[in-house]
């Protein structure tokens, strides 16, 4: 009996011990496979919630969290099992969550839970360790670290009261009255988090991202990268050149998001463009290849896209311009065709806010990559009282659009100069772009093509062979061309004879009366 009991004890201890031993490894595994499910109530078009969803997806991607997004209608029982975190996003508080299965699964869920927006349930509030309170008709000031911003007027907002000291608070919402009341913005209690609202721009997005990063255990801070967007071969190249020179002289490191063409690359106009891009590289700028706009491609257009991207890279590299990554609208990461045939070619991305969204095959299955920059416009920080060491919780690209006039250029210089920020230097990036048979790498400020270091100062513009463009001709067209010429010659002769005869005939006719 005793022996048996002893054996059982040893067994139990053994099991406990081994489980203790294996726990850290399990954690490591969980960290690499961390996947987040984002469930929203509805895509409230009135409030442009699509924009907020896009921003949240991009933040998560920048935090290296692969995210799957679904509408609550598409949630099926048990789906949550495959995820380590769940985010509930309420865009339309009049509707809120209606999927009982999801609410039930979320209650039972043991991973990280984040609630964004209104309609916090009593249960959720309890898990966060406080009770919900509604505040009406207020204009708050959002404060975080040393930065602050006056927010637009809000009709109603739900904050949490009576929080214990263990609860972490990120940012403060302060009223403007004399005896300022203040409420926490982001709240983290263990695995549970809450954000009363989310906004894609301004300090709100930074505060939100900081909170999300903390909740998911990411504590790194980053400096923002100045990024010039809307650079195309059709841009005013003089302004682009002047802007890059300005940044160079002011010692501001920067990146540009530049689109290219896949055809007509033998033309002079292309060389003019690449010459400017090359000088940007020589002024400490780096180039992210901006992905093309999407027309109305069929699902089968993946290989065409892949070819276009390869052709961008190859034709640019031929003229000594080496893109170090890819930039695209955020929704490209939510689309199977666009992601697989373009974004996956690079391990450094800039994800820009969506403009015109045209999906080829939407799957909402965002992937995270080595480094992806969350893009937000510099102007969205205009209303923020900034401190020099404004911190960002994820790789962030602060974007300025390339101006198309000298006045715009002057304004932009003022704006950049006014931003006293500690800019990120892309020299610290370590990137690869792999297309077709070519492998481009960038490390420590050097460019490598298929392993060979390239000298970017040595401009190697390929000589341009102007190509005569004409409509494609069908088979035998030469024969009919010849036949056409013969017929035409024949026609000319007949016409000449006809005219001569007419004149002669008229003469004869007249002579008949002359007698």
């Amino acid at each position: 009996m005793m022996k048996n009991r002893l054996l059982t004890y040893i067994l139990i201890i053994g099991i406990l011990f081994s489980s203790l031993l294996s726990m850290p490894t399990n954690r490591v595994k969980a960290a690499t496979q961390e996947r987040v499910l984002l469930v929203y109530d509805s895509e409230n078009d009135v409030e442009q919630s699509g924009k907020q969803i896009d921003a949240l997806q991009r933040i998560l991607t920048s935090l290296n969290l692969p995210v799957k997004t679904i509408s609550q209608n598409n949630y099926k029982s048990g789906m949550l099992k495959n995820y380590s975190g769940v985010i509930t996003m309420i865009n339309w508080r009049q509707v809120g969550l209606t999927n009982k299965v999801f609410i039930h699964d979320r209650e039972k869920f043991s991973g990280i839970r984040l609630h964004i927006g209104d309609n916090l349930t009593a249960n959720e509030a309890a898990q966060l360790g406080g009770h919900a309170r509604r505040i009406y008709q207020q204009q708050f000031i959002l404060k975080i670290n040393q930065d602050e911003q006056l927010l637009p007027f809000s009709e109603t907002i739900t904050v949490l009261d009576g929080l214990s000291n263990q609860v972490q608070k990120v940012g403060i919402l302060a009223t403007q009255e004399k005896n300022q009341k203040s409420y926490p913005y982001g709240i983290i209690n263990g695995q549970n988090g809450y954000l009363p609202y989310f906004n894609s721009g301004g300090l709100s997005s930074l505060a939100a991202s900081q909170m999300i990063a903390k909740l998911f255990g990411k504590n790194d801070t980053y400096q923002p990268m100045l990024t010039i967007t809307n650079v195309t071969p059709y841009s005013d190249l003089k302004i682009l050149d002047a802007l890059s020179l300005y940044c160079y002289q002011k010692e501001i490191p920067f990146a540009i998001s530049a689109s290219s063409v896949s055809d007509n690359t033998q033309m002079k106009a292309f060389t003019r463009y690449t010459t400017v891009l090359n000088s940007i590289e020589n002024r400490g700028g780096v180039i992210f290849a901006q992905m093309p706009i999407v027309g109305a491609p069929p699902i089968s257009s993946g290989s065409e896209l892949s070819q276009i991207v390869s052709s961008y890279m190859v034709s640019l590299a031929r003229e000594n311009v080496y893109p170090i990554g890819i930039s695209s609208f955020g929704y490209w990461n939510q689309d199977e065709i666009l992601r697989d045939n373009a974004l996956k070619k690079a391990n450094n991305l800039i994800l820009l806010p969506n403009e015109k969204v045209v999906y080829v095959k939407q799957d909402n299955n965002a992937l995270s990559t080595k480094k992806s920059f969350y893009a937000m416009s510099v102007s969205s920080l205009n209303k923020v009282k900034k401190s020099y060491d404004m911190s960002f919780s994820m790789p962030t690209a602060l974007t300025v659009s390339l101006p198309d006039s000298k006045v715009g250029m002057h304004d932009l210089e003022q704006e950049i100069n006014g931003l006293q920020l500690n800019w990120f230097d892309p020299v610290n990036l370590n990137t690869t772009v792999k297309t077709g048979t070519s492998l481009m790498r960038y490390r420590n400020g050097d460019y490598y093509m298929n392993g060979k270091k390239e000298d970017i100062q040595n401009t190697q513009n390929t000589n341009n062979i102007p190509i005569f463009a004409t409509k494609q001709e069908p088979l035998f067209s030469n024969f009919f061309h010849l036949q056409g010429n013969i017929l035409m010659g024949f026609f000319i002769i007949v016409l000449l004879i006809l005219i001569i005869f007419t004149l002669l005939g008229r003469k004869i006719y007249k002579n008949m009366f002359k007698r």
């Binding site: 195309t232 063409v261 002079k268 491609p297 257009s301 198309d404 341009n464 102007p466 009919f480 056409g484």
Partner: protein
């Protein structure tokens, strides 16, 4: 033999024969199942949605490959407004009405559209043949009638009837416009006013059926001026003058209805498919003309990119820096500075001018056992022949026009001196047609470069065919220069 022919011609006029033959030939093509037609190239929605017709849902794609014979009819309020202004809407609405009365209130059969075209088309063939051969019933008249069937009942034209394209309406009214004037010049009917009315009605329809037809108002004004030479009294002259004003107004109205997006599309395409084509690197030419030469990289781009493109042509930036700068005035100036390129563009535009068969879409229905996008070989001999052997140079067209005008000017001159109107009316008709042949290629190159040539120049092959048959008929009946019919020659009395 002779007695037999005399009996035949007593009962069946050349016009009647042409009509019967055309009815049989195109009737088989259009109505006997499995039917033939043209598949959707993506433009059908323009004529469908605003007129209460929609695509029935299918698991396969309904465009390009096969002709779709059945559509749905909207049962409730239709919120779609017409994308473009067109008089074609009348026909589609009428077809839907007939369909509801005779067939179904929920399913639309494309053949109801075809039958409307068919009836009007047969009338046009009758009138055309009659006006060509009147007042003769010789063997040669019957030869002309056969030629009319051979040329104008060609499947490349009649296939359009089973489709939502606007072209069939254009084709038929063009035949009416031409034939009515010819009928007047030959006194086919005792009373002239029905033909005059027919001419104005069909021409106004022609001018309003497609926006690109707006410039034709000028052409038909020239033709209508011929009516002024008829022995007139004041009131009728005034009415004809009113008709001419109506034509100009219809043209201007159609032109004004071209919306700005349509304009942008054409302007962009005329730049990328015109200015940048048929030349080496257009770098220098562009900067000389005051447009950033970076835009040369847009060569052959579409306004609505099919798959992927560098920038959105409809974006504000392109709008401001390219489209706003390259208006019609700029284009004309550019081509004046680069005449060689313009001539090459014209040559390209006339290269396939006689190819009337639509190559991009299929002619058969899905269950007919034919391959997708397969074309019918039924009664297409003329269009195939003309499409292949017509000389592909713009210079040839100019020569043709020059010679043709001279030939008819002579008879006009003779008749004018003899105070007869027949030759004068005919000459102005011919002259109007010649302006179409010369100017439409120029206009289409200016309007859209090398893009959509077949669509923009659809009227040119019809016009060429009409002038061709007129010439043959006049030669055969010996009245090229002598429009007077000897008393004994009139077979219709």
């Amino acid at each position: 033999m002779r007695i037999g022919f005399n009996k035949f011609k007593k009962y069946i006029s050349p016009a009647m024969m042409a009509m019967i033959l055309a009815a049989i030939i195109s009737g088989i093509l259009l109505f006997i199942s499995p039917i033939h037609g043209l598949a959707d190239n993506g433009d059908f929605y323009r004529a469908m949605n605003s007129n209460g017709v929609y695509r029935l849902p299918t698991h396969y794609s309904q465009s390009l490959d096969y002709v779709i014979p059945k559509f749905g009819i909207y049962q409730y309020y239709n919120e779609n407004t017409a994308a473009v202004f067109t008089s074609q809407a009348m026909i589609v609405k009428f077809a839907v009405f007939l369909n509801k009365v005779f067939y179904s209130k929920t399913i639309f059969d494309i053949r109801f559209l075809a039958i409307i075209y068919y009836v009007f088309f047969l009338g046009a063939i009758y009138l055309l043949t009659k006006s060509l051969v009147f007042p003769y019933r010789r063997i040669r008249s019957y030869v002309v009638a056969l030629l009319v069937v051979f040329i104008f009942a060609d499947s490349s034209f009649t296939l359009y009837f089973n489709s939502f394209f606007a072209e069939p309406g254009m084709y038929i009214v063009m035949l009416y416009s031409f034939a009515s004037i010819l009928a007047i010049s030959r006194d086919c009917f005792k009373k002239r006013w029905p033909m005059i009315l027919l001419f104005f009605a069909s021409t106004i329809f022609l001018l309003t059926v497609k926006q690109q037809n707006a410039p034709l108002a000028l052409t038909f004004t020239v033709v209508a001026v011929g009516l002024m030479f008829l022995p007139n009294f004041k009131a009728r002259r005034f009415a004809i003058f009113g008709g001419i004003i109506a034509l100009l107004f219809a043209g201007a109205f159609t032109y004004s209805k071209i919306n700005s997006e349509f304009n942008d599309v054409n302007q962009y395409q005329s730049f990328t498919h015109g200015v940048l084509m048929e030349t080496g690197d257009p770098d220098k030419q562009l900067s000389k003309a005051g447009v950033s030469s970076q835009y040369s990289l847009m060569r052959m781009q579409e306004y609505y990119p099919r798959t992927y493109d560098t920038v959105q042509p409809g974006s504000k930036y392109v709008e401001k820096h390219l489209i706003a700068k390259t208006g019609m005035g700029w284009l004309i100036k550019y081509y004046l500075q680069n005449p060689k390129q313009f001539v090459r563009l014209l040559d390209v535009s006339t290269k396939d001018i006689m190819v009337t068969q639509v190559k991009a879409v299929g002619n058969f229905t899905r269950n007919s056992g034919h391959k997708p996008q397969e074309h019918t070989k039924y009664f297409v001999l003329f269009s195939t022949y003309a499409g292949t052997f017509f000389p592909n140079k713009y210079g040839f067209i100019c020569l043709y026009v020059f010679g043709y005008t001279i030939v008819y000017a002579i008879s006009c001159f003779l008749d004018f001196r003899a105070k007869r109107y027949q030759g004068v009316v005919r000459f102005l008709l011919v002259f109007g047609m010649m302006t179409i042949i010369v100017f439409i290629p120029i206009i289409s190159v200016l309007a859209a470069g090398e893009a959509d040539l077949a669509k923009h120049q659809f009227i040119v092959p019809i016009t060429l065919d009409l002038t061709f048959i007129l010439f043959i008929s006049d030669i055969l009946h010996h009245r090229l220069w002598n429009t007077k019919v000897a008393d004994g020659d009139n077979d219709e009395k």
